[in-house]
Amino acid sequence: MYLMLLLMLALLVVPAAGAVLAGISRPRAAPLVAVFASLAAAVIGVAAVIRAYPDGAAFRLGDMPWLPVQAGAGVFGLSLNPLSSVMVLVITVIGFLIVLYSTEYLGPRNVEHPYRNGQQRYYFWLMLFFTSMVGVALSPNLLQLFIFWEMTTLCSWALISQTQEPAATRAGFKALIMTHIGGFGFLVALLLVFAGAGSFEFAAIGELAGGLKVAVFVLLLVAAWAKSAQIPFHTWLPDAMEAPTPVSAYLHAAAMVKAGVYLVARLVVSGWAVPQDMGIVIAVMALLTMLMAVLAYLRQDDLKRLLAYSTIVHLAYVLIGVSLGVFGSKIGYQGAALHILCHGAAKGTLFLCVGAIAYGAGSRHISQLSGLARKMPLEAVTFMVGALAVTGIPPLSCFWSKLFIFVGALESPGGVILLVLLAAESAISFGWLMWVAQKVFLGRPSQVAAAAADPPWPMSFALVACMVLCVVVPYIGLPIVRLLVPGGGF
């Protein structure tokens, strides 16, 4: 028992210590500190998830004397349930790969944008983000979740603005403001819950009176939409692509944007008490978001912006799965949880791959790139695997999660239409990504591509590891998401 507590505490303390150490160490030592801290955190994270399987773990760590919460409910604590296990896996394992990848990417040899200073600052914020994201996943109640939630927003601002160029600071500011407005909704919802139920527990929302409950849900949804870049708060994410690519891969594909959908998923799984009207709202907004993003796909020339829109679509997928859970389809809900993991691996792969292209060839513009496969065979393979994984080609990662969401759609009323819409999205994304892959990697090498080269080993290692994750994550995730629904689903 104590070991479990120790592990979970270490999961927070180790990256936090890494952040501080990286911040105060010399520029050359900062990456090393961050790599070791994140590696340790990844090992601890995996160990914690394994130890918490299948019963989960929860600890109450402290109260605030002046905050009169309901008996039995704590103010601070740590909990590791199946849903947060999924998050912890994404955060720690991909986090480590990202940090490793950053050590080369943020170096002077980066063709697109040589980075010569700011190492300590970068690793401080990155590891602080690591910590706060772990905090989000391990939070047992709304209050603590909110605190870490806002910390991730702050880190996102700092990391997007890393280069301190005008476009980057502007994008960072935009992201900060937009997600913070959502965060304000979270705060109000938090206060409403406390006023109404005298507790910050997730399940406390179920005890609220009808109108208040809906208000709280809507406010939390707004927070989640803003965090996950859903309509109408989707505009910050494509702009945030000014961030260094590892940041985009980590914050804006694998981890931070997942916090929003994680919150909604967490609300649904805590008592399954979300009203069905809310389910409809979630699903309709998710479908609208999908439509928006699919339309936007076709106009992107910047590979990273393309991937950003694809991320928005996949977050919408998760929300649709969650809304299916609201309608009573446990399997759709499990698909959503699995999609958090599967998409994290697949999209992380794609982002890191695009980063490697920018690093080696100096451009991320589809129109300038052609025939890269000859000089960057590893990236070609990785991109193909990532593209096939993210569009759901068996047996790669997103195939499984999408399939469960499809199946969940069929279980719900009117699900055939939903199924057809999702399938259409799948087909369009597939076509578009294949076209992009062909354009960028095949054909005769363009001028930019002729000078490209495979990146150094830390980046290659991260790429290969991500590719392996694309294959194996569903099989790791399946036993975990199975626990989400006791006795239901599969």
Binding site: L291, V420, A423, Q438, F490
Partner: protein, 679 residues
């Protein structure tokens, strides 16, 4: 070892082989021979599994469940029934032959890395074997997609040619969409079955139940499946990708596609419409649809093939036409399934037999086209000519293949087509539309002959073109690795043509366990017992006979007689230069180009093949504008906020008098509020 285990081992061997060939891919030779070795072992296993099951007394070995995805009712269940066994035999042979062919052929690609060919080819075969062995829609889909992706990478092997990339893109998108159709159909059936399951057995039950409760849903599902399979089989209008993608792939892979993957469209068709769908009025409707689609493909595909100049593209259009014959035969068979089992048997037999024949001659023809490419360096017919002198054996094999595909007796193509014609005539008595189908098929047979005479004439006979003349007419046939597959397939064409009863027996054993509707029929009762020929006896009355050996002997005698007459008459023959109406033309200009052949045909049927371009839709700019919240909402809001702040800041001017005024105003406000609250 049971057949199922053999199949599993074959897949495992291919997977290991893919890894090994990828590792050693720096050496092309090592990669090639190792690939051949692994494929040989896997082929042996597949052949053993197929042979044992097809000849076994029972209708197939028991299914074995390898893995289960609990909760969604999917299980990796493998089984080798006789129908699967039949396909395993084809796959076993074709996998080995096409790999053998590739080992020599791939030397024409000097720039491309071997790692992109052999591992993919091996994985492709693994996928194909998986597709025919699973008994569960979920894993059927998994293998199907796997096979499609592998074949896509084979198609785009020559990755710097923009035409090839376009072809590959079209291929992957079209077939992926078709696969999604199939997935939706499978998911709906999964949802209908109780308890939810993807297994073939429960989908059969679910189909039966759906047919009674909601026929429209079942019709939609069958349509989705038909589109899925027709797309893979290259049936028009869904198979538009085929004439682009087949010529793009390296020829070894093309032969493998023609021998295995395209045929899986037929496999799926028979699985769904004969095995799973209970014989009912649905069979009648969809049998007719299948036959009509087939006839359309026969006509359009073959007519379009006539005017092609690229050898492989010409053959690819013939794939469409020949797949049409199979659809026609099988469609008629399905049409008769609930009412006249004997005719149904003949239809399905004919279609499946035609499939077998097509595997032989089409793969052979693709191989010959590849041989021409290796020696003449081109696939364009107008750059060839007189190559028979350079490639004598290939020329003979190409002739055998051409005559077979054109349905010239006594080659194998005729035997299966003969059955299709017979059925359309007999079936046409009751339903004249079938007669029309048969007439189209009959007419197109001649078009096929014309088209292949063009191929033979342009490539092998006539004057050598300048291009070929550079080869100096020295006998220089392709290496043994490419010869052997051609010879084996050519011999098969002749053997199946002379003794059609032997392959038909295998086909009969393969298809009868599929449905109980055929259980009352016997092969002997329908096509006679003689090994030398076929006696078509619907309803106990002999309606037609075909004894190929007898015809062959008669033909040989006729040839001998005419030759004898010519010898006896001692007709003189003289060799003169070609006369160009007195003008002294260089041979290059006087050459009759294959472009020019069948020009009237081309003009008459120009519009028969409608090229399906990418649909052009207007980009919904309004919608995009609506979604661009920054421009119409956030931007103005921020600006407005800025303006408000600006105005407010004007109050802050730094003169003490003004602050005094604000304080007084503020105090008054506070007092008003206080008084109103306290009152």
């Amino acid at each position: 070892m049971t057949p199922v285990q053999a199949v599993m081992h074959a897949v495992a061997v291919l997977a290991i082989g893919a890894a090994v060939t990828a590792i050693v891919s720096r050496s092309r030779t090592a990669s090639a021979y190792l690939a051949l070795l692994f494929v040989a072992v896997a082929s042996g296993l597949a052949l053993w599994a197929g042979g044992a099951s097809l000849t076994g007394a029972e209708s197939g070995s028991a299914p074995a469940t390898v893995a289960v995805v609990s909760g969604i009712g999917a299980s990796l269940t493998l089984a080798v029934d006789r129908f699967t066994a039949f396909f395993l035999l084809i796959i076993g042979v074709m996998a080995f032959l096409s790999t053998l062919y590739s080992t020599s052929y791939m030397r024409i690609y000097q720039r491309e890395h071997a790692a992109r060919y052999y591992p993919m080819l091996l994985l492709f075969f693994a996928g194909v074997i998986g597709v025919v062995s699973v008994r569960d829609w979920f894993f059927f889909f998994v293998f199907w997609e796997f096979m499609t992706i592998c074949s896509y990478f084979l198609v785009i092997f020559d990755k710097e040619d923009p035409t090839i990339l376009r072809a590959g893109f079209k291929y992957i998108v079209v077939t992926h969409v078709a696969a999604i159709f199939m997935l939706i159909a499978a998911l709906v059936l999964w949802h209908t079955s109780e308890p939810h399951s993807f297994s073939f057995a429960s989908s059969a039950q679910a189909m039966g139940a759906l047919g009674r409760s909601s026929p429209i849903v079942l019709h939609v599902l069958l349509a989705l499946w038909l589109i899925g399979f027709a797309t893979k089989a290259g049936i028009l209008p869904f198979g538009d990708w085929l004439p682009d993608a087949y010529p793009a792939a390296p020829t070894g892979a093309t032969a493998a596609f023609a021998g295995t993957m395209t045929k899986l469209g037929i496999y799926g068709l028979l699985r769904v419409f004969v095995d799973l769908l209970p014989a009912s009025e649905f069979s009648v409707v969809w049998g007719l649809v299948i036959a009509a689609l087939g006839t359309g493909s026969i006509f359009v595909g073959t007519i379009t093939a006539l005017s092609q100049d690229d050898a492989k593209r010409l053959m690819s259009f013939h794939v469409i036409g020949q797949m049409g014959y199979m659809f026609l035969g099988i469609g008629m068979g399905i049409y008769f399934l609930p009412t006249q089992p004997t005719l149904a048997l003949v239809g399905i037999l004919a279609g499946t037999f035609h499939l077998l024949n097509h595997v032989c001659y089409k793969s052979l023809l693709f191989c010959t086209a590849g041989s021409l490419r290796l020696r003449a360096g081109t696939q364009a017919l107008h750059e060839m000519g007189g190559l028979a002198r350079v490639l004598p054996l290939t020329a003979v094999m190409a002739a055998i293949g051409s005559l077979s595909i054109a349905g010239v007796p006594p080659f194998n193509g005729f035997a299966s087509k003969w059955l299709i014609y017979q059925l359309s005539v007999i079936g046409g008595i009751g339903f004249p539309l079938l007669l029309l189908f048969g007439l189209v098929a009959f007419f197109i047979s001649l078009v096929t002959l014309a088209s292949f005479l063009k191929y033979l004439g342009a490539a092998f006979f006539g004057q050598p073109s300048d291009h070929v003349a550079a080869l100096q007419g020295k006998r220089n046939d392709v290496p043994g690795g490419m010869q052997a597959p051609q010879v084996v397939l050519g011999l098969a064409c002749v053997a199946f043509g002379l003794f059609p009863m032997l392959p038909l027996t295998a086909v009969y054993r393969a298809i009868t366990p599929l449905t109980t509707a055929l259980s009352g029929t016997t092969l002997a009762g329908t096509l006679g017992t003689s090994v030398l020929g076929l006696t078509f006896t619907p309803d106990g009355v002999a309606a037609g006979v075909w004894y190929p050996l007898a015809s062959a002997i008669a033909l040989a005698i006729c040839v001998a007689i005419s030759y004898g007459i010519a010898r006896m008459a001692q007709a003189p023959s003289r060799v003169v230069p070609v006369w160009y109406c007195g003008v002294d033309l260089p041979q290059r200009l006087g050459h009759f180009h294959p472009h020019g052949m069948y020009e009237p045909f081309r003009r008459a049927f120009e519009r028969v093949y409608v090229k399906i371009g990418t649909p052009k839709t207007a980009y919904p700019t309004t919608l995009v504008k609506i979604f661009d919240v920054d421009t119409w909402l956030y931007g103005p809001l921020v600006k407005a906020g800025g303006r408000v702040a600006e105005r407010f800041s004007r109050s802050h001017v730094g003169i003490p008098q003004w602050y005094l005024v604000w304080q007084v105003v503020g105090m008054v406000l506070v007092l008003v509020v206080l008084f109103s609250v306290m009152r």
